[in-house]
């Protein structure tokens, strides 16, 4: 980097301790997670499996359920991004000052209510089962972090920057696009990371209303008292959550504006 300061060249780092530990985590986390996951899978596949276990613990079933889980997570993320970011931008416009607390209040309720409760309520309301019936309430549940961080991220942009932008002839939209949005990106990404983890976790509940996912393994293992199935389901969903969190961290490192890092 051309911008190394003398202090950095002398061996000091301007990074705070938390940022350094964050970087360390970015390298070690996936390695540890994959190692544990591999060990559990090897243990499960090489063990003595009865009929029920064999039906659940096989490559085809595990891959299908994992893929369903990932699909739910992706769909939830897409909805969260498409709803929370535009909503966050809208309610932080000066003319929408009055609406912001109401929107934030509703999103708070969404997160405060138990995810399972939301799922069941939505099922009762729609009398439907399946993928989208699971995805929509989970998205509502996971909406808040992105919404709140988008709002805070936009609000914390220094007023003098907005004034400077307007003062040199940027339109309101240009100020939003070239100043407010890029400066809010780091906080938005942090919110997204939290939302993603919430989404992966809540997706284990999707099986209740026929949405599939790794929750099925946990359910079967628990109800039929097959520990190996239970452990594989639990470890897989935990590993998935950690990996998603890792990806979120990576995105924060790579996508945030360079001048702020």
């Amino acid at each position: 980097m051309p911008d190394t300061t003398t202090a950095e060249r002398a061996g000091f780092s301007a990074d705070s301790g938390s940022r350094r530990s964050e970087r360390l985590r970015l390298f070690t986390e996936p390695v540890v997670v994959l190692a544990i996951l591999g060990a559990v899978l090897v243990w499960a596949f090489t063990g003595d499996l009865d009929d029920i276990e064999a039906r659940e613990i096989n490559a085809a079933n595990i891959l299908t359920l994992t893929w369903q889980h990932v699909q739910i997570t992706l769909a939830v993320t897409a909805i969260v991004l498409l709803v929370a970011i535009p909503l966050g931008i809208l309610v932080t416009r000066p003319w929408a000052k009055g609406v912001a607390p109401i929107v934030l209040g509703i999103a708070n309720m969404g997160q405060a209510a138990p995810a399972l409760g939301l799922l069941v309520l939505f099922f009762l309301l729609t009398q439907q089962t399946g993928f989208w019936v699971a995805v929509i309430p989970i998205a509502f549940y996971a909406l808040l972090p992105v919404l709140r961080n988008t709002m805070v991220g936009l609000q914390q942009v220094d007023q003098s920057l907005l004034e400077a932008g307007r003062g040199i002839g940027m339109s309101r939209f240009t100020v939003l696009r070239r100043i407010e949005f890029p400066l809010a990106v780091p906080l938005m990404l942090a919110g997204l990371r939290t939302s993603l983890v919430l989404a992966v976790g809540s997706a284990t509940l999707a099986f209740f209303i026929g949405g599939g996912g790794l929750g099925e393994l946990i359910d079967v293992g628990y109800k039929l008292r097959r520990t190996s199935v239970l452990v594989v389901g639990a470890v897989l969903s935990a590993a998935l959550a950690l990996l998603v969190d890792w990806l979120g961290g990576l995105a924060e490192q790579l996508l945030g504006p360079k001048g702020l890092r």
Partner: protein, 418 residues
């Protein structure tokens, strides 16, 4: 209340290049909803093309509001504002602002953009092509004294406060706007950096001749930078709008006098240069001459002072008659000349040199250090007296003779009669 304030043109500035345009405010008022009194009440003034006009006044007096109405960051409630003859209220505000440079105290550099991206913002908004923007950016960084190769790709947080403000000024000037609005731009930097930035701005303005509206609450800054100063009171009421010389010499009322503060005479000395006044001459001798011969030339008057020069005409020593009587050689007689000023120095510098040299005179030298003459206390006092009388006359005060004291024969006197 409405007042017309068209101050006379300051003298001696006409040779400066002018790329600025005239700004006119006519009965401009800003009334915020829910407030009984307007923030700015019917201001009328003309800001001449190519001049630096400083709005100075206490905080909350409406000076910033008045300035921001020129580029419509604040919309006037009533009145008319024209920039270069165009009614700003009829223009698209965004396009209007792209044609007016804008620099603020917080600088407002975008932290996620590099220095060159920041400088190139306005040209980009206007739609210049990339290579032209790049070229212009380099030129602007050069102009404000930042080496493009070193600073181009830095981010704002990698710059000092003074450097950031330089980039801020470069950004404001990048699209070559005829008008520049500056809102306390040097308010947040340390005094030494502020002085440098002020000098730099004056140098730039000398080349560019923009119309600059500069807001500050620091009267000394106003005196230093302004071709004219508008002293504003509550609701942006114009208390006095005139050249710094005139305001210092003759404040319009108590409030202005209070704002000018103590030491008005000393501040006036910063506005005049040694070349503006007539130098006095003292008897001189070269170091090789006989003391007795010089003593004869010095005469018998008590307190008479002479100067010993070296063989190239540079001042060496102060000598009095008594020194000469006691000493065998001019090279060692009297006291050494420690401080001198040149013709570009301000009279304040001359006063400083005068006070520290116990001969009672400040030596003035030419470019290579040769003796040119001296400035005595009488010339300084005469200059100030002349300034006062000149501006009193302008007011119609029936006091005294026309301002033509020693040294008052050029410089600011043009301001009164142009």
């Amino acid at each position: 209340m409405s007042e017309t304030n068209t101050a006379p043109k300051p003298g001696g500035e006409s040779d400066r290049a002018t790329s600025g345009v005239e700004i006119r405010l006519e009965n401009v008022t800003k009334q915020y909803g829910g407030q009984r009194h307007p923030a700015v009440d019917s201001v009328t003034m003309t800001i001449p093309a190519g001049e630096t006009v400083v709005f100075v006044g206490p905080s909350g007096c409406g000076k910033t509001t008045t300035m921001k109405m020129i580029n419509r960051l604040i919309e006037p409630t009533s009145g008319r504002i024209t920039v270069g003859g165009q009614d700003v209220l009829r223009l698209n505000p965004d396009e209007l602002r792209r044609g007016i440079g804008y620099a603020i105290q917080q600088v407002g550099l975008l932290p996620h953009l590099t220095v060159s991206q920041n400088v190139g913002l306005v040209p980009g908004l206007i739609g210049w092509d990339k290579s032209r923007i790049a070229e212009r950016t380099e030129e602007m960084l050069d102009l404000v004294g930042l080496d493009p190769a070193e600073y181009r790709d830095r981010f704002p947080k990698q710059l000092s406060g003074g450097q950031q403000q330089r980039v801020g000024v470069a950004r404001a000037l990048a699209a070559d706007p005829p008008v520049l609005l500056m809102d306390e731009p040097f308010g947040a930097v340390d005094p030494i950096t502020r002085g440098n930035l002020q000098d730099e701005l004056m140098r730039l303005q000398e080349e560019m001749g923009k119309t600059i509206v500069f807001v500050t609450h620091d009267f000394d800054e106003a005196v230093k930078l302004g071709d004219r100063i508008a002293v504003l009171g509550y609701q942006s009421k114009i208390l006095q709008y005139d050249t710094p010389e005139a305001i210092l010499a003759n404040p319009a009322d108590e409030t202005v006098a209070g704002f000018v503060g103590a030491g008005a005479a000393l501040k006036q000395l910063t506005l005049r240069r040694v070349r503006d006044i007539e130098l006095e001459q003292l008897p001189t001798a070269t170091a090789g001459e006989e003391p007795a011969a010089f003593a004869a030339r010095l005469g018998g008057r008590r307190g008479a002072v002479g100067l010993v020069l070296d063989e190239r005409g540079r001042p060496l020593r102060w000598v009095t008659r008594r020194d000469l009587d006691r000493s065998g050689s001019l090279a060692t007689a009297g006291r050494p000349v420690e401080d001198s000023v040149d013709r570009a120095s301000t009279l304040q510098d001359a006063l400083e040199a005068l006070l520290t040299a116990d001969a009672g005179y400040a030596v003035v030298t030419r470019s290579r250090g040769q003796y040119a003459g001296v400035v005595g206390l009488d010339s300084l006092m005469g200059t100030i007296r002349a300034l006062r009388e000149q501006y009193e006359d302008e007011d119609g005060t029936p006091d005294g003779r026309p301002g033509d004291g020693p040294g008052g024969s050029d410089g600011g006197s043009g301001a009164a009669h142009a």
